[in-house]
Symmetry: C2
Subunit: 306 residues, 2 copies
């Protein structure tokens, strides 16, 4: 069977069987060292899949760090140390790689973590793998959502998908709101401002990389609960609304199914709502299974690699 036929999630299931590992399934892997809980994660950005070579190398570097930090933050951790594995074509301009590293450096300064090592190897296509080690006071994963919890997201949803579509239009000039959406896709910010809140209050947490509905399915399945979403409550940016007006699209569709926002999806009792964070209650956790939007059961639809 070809990988294309089995699919990404099918493959992951098969590999878990081989490794007898129950750990794989959260954004990061929690491991114990004495009294410390470390969080380990890795994420790769590949040319032609996650980025095009003509895009800003600084943004690609920033994003390669951010998507890993997002995983650590989602599980209630702070990033500490990063390793960078670069696979590069020999014909690549070294200026490009230096600019990539400037983006990596800026992100690490912003998130207060450090690149401690790495590896460079040759390959016809560019591939950037980051491995990140963080630590947490309390691991918060996907499996702890409880019936009675409210469902929250940070920030706004759907912006990154709109940004990617705009970027691929390759327009000469972008309106300011379009540039803002592109920025949301190309330079996402991991929500480190949420770490304390997640550690203190969340019963379950993950980041939204595949899209809200697809990721809510992961959460529902791992927690053994039903997740109900009210589409009227989805937080939409004014930029996404302008985009949807201009291009005649449905912002709700973007918020439900758009990936790569790197916002957080988490659950806890309604009473723990924090007015100092840009969090929005978008639904609730109940007994049962599956994901429901406005009462209607909805199947996952989102980013797939294969």
């Amino acid at each position: 069977m070809k990988l294309r036929e089995l699919g990404e999630f099918g493959l992951i299931e098969r590999l878990k069987e081989i490794l007898y590992s129950s750990l794989i399934g959260d954004d990061t892997a929690p491991v114990k060292l004495g009294e410390h809980t470390l969080l380990l994660t890795t994420d790769t950005m590949n040319e032609g899949v996650h980025f095009l070579k003509e895009w800003s190398p600084e943004s690609i570097g920033w994003k390669a760090i951010s998507v890993n930090v997002s995983d650590v933050v989602a599980n209630g951790g702070e990033p500490l140390w990063a390793l960078i594995s670069l696979s590069l074509p020999p014909e690549l301009e070294t200026k490009w790689i230096e600019r990539l590293y400037i983006g990596i450096k800026r992100a690490c300064e912003f998130y207060k973590c450090e690149v401690v090592g790495g590896n460079i190897a040759k390959l016809e296509k560019l591939s950037i793998s980051v491995a990140l080690v963080g630590k947490t006071q309390r691991f918060v994963g996907r499996s702890g959502a409880k019936p009675g919890d409210s469902l929250f997201v940070s920030g706004t949803l759907g912006d990154a998908k709109a940004g990617l579509e705009l970027l691929l239009m390759k327009k000469e000039n972008y309106e300011p709101f379009e540039a803002a959406l592109i920025e949301r896709f190309a330079r996402p910010t991991a929500r480190i401002d949420y770490v304390k809140h997640i550690v203190k209050y969340a019963n379950a947490s993950m980041d939204i990389s595949d899209g809200l509905v697809a990721d809510a399915h992961h959460l529902a399945k791992r927690s053994g609960v039903k997740i109900e979403i009210d589409s009227s409550k989805l937080p939409l940016s004014k930029e996404l609304k302008l985009f949807c007006e201009k291009y005649n699209k449905s912002p709700t569709e973007y918020a439900l199914f758009g990936g790569e926002d790197y916002q957080l999806l988490f659950t806890h009792p309604k009473t723990r709502w924090n007015p100092f964070l840009d969090m929005t209650e978008i639904g609730r956790v109940t007994e049962g299974e599956g994901v429901f939007v406005d009462g209607e059961k909805i199947e996952p639809k989102g980013w797939r690699h294969f």
Copy 2:
């Protein structure tokens, strides 16, 4: 400037400047967490560069883990947790990936470490990045070699280069000694049996991946010393000798310049020689700089990526 022109080591110097990082330069990056010293490392194996797709996937998986464990061992550590980043073409047979993972699993069982997470992404070429976290009682790097130390290596040298050449001959039938050399290249064993010795006695240590002379140059430069090697003392396997007789090659050349043996190169006083390990004294550390073989100064020549 193209990457091909700047070269791997030139690029690494430039990136170090950008990151202001002094840590990069040993096989692993040591980091402190409370009283613990962790070792972080990453290494990538790419299709067409480090392996061909028609080779045994089990061996490729075994090697991907082993080369990382070798780095941790070289710095006096034991491996704990691994992350696997796979970039895969959609047309790849899933059976291939499963066999790769069987090799990864066997290696992790052998080295007593655990795959705790990973990532799968699409790419036209196969790329396998492993990030490994280990811990050590005492970090032993490249910079501690002292004049007066003897220079030692574990095992035998040059086997892997002979094995690679044999593998590329694509013969119908291999003699037993040839199969043994191929095995030495395709399934190297990281020298975990040396960890206690390295931690207890070594002043400097690294693994031999680029070739003895090239790696001795790294050691000499980082330690600010001269390294003298006696070619008559180089440990040669009987298989390498048979190979060199059959194909009319110089075993000394293979031992000096062949890469990918993943043996250890380390220094300490002669008196600390351990009869229970397969270690060989091949030279000494003196004041000065550079690498000398039989009294003659010799420039690095070994594996280069770009």
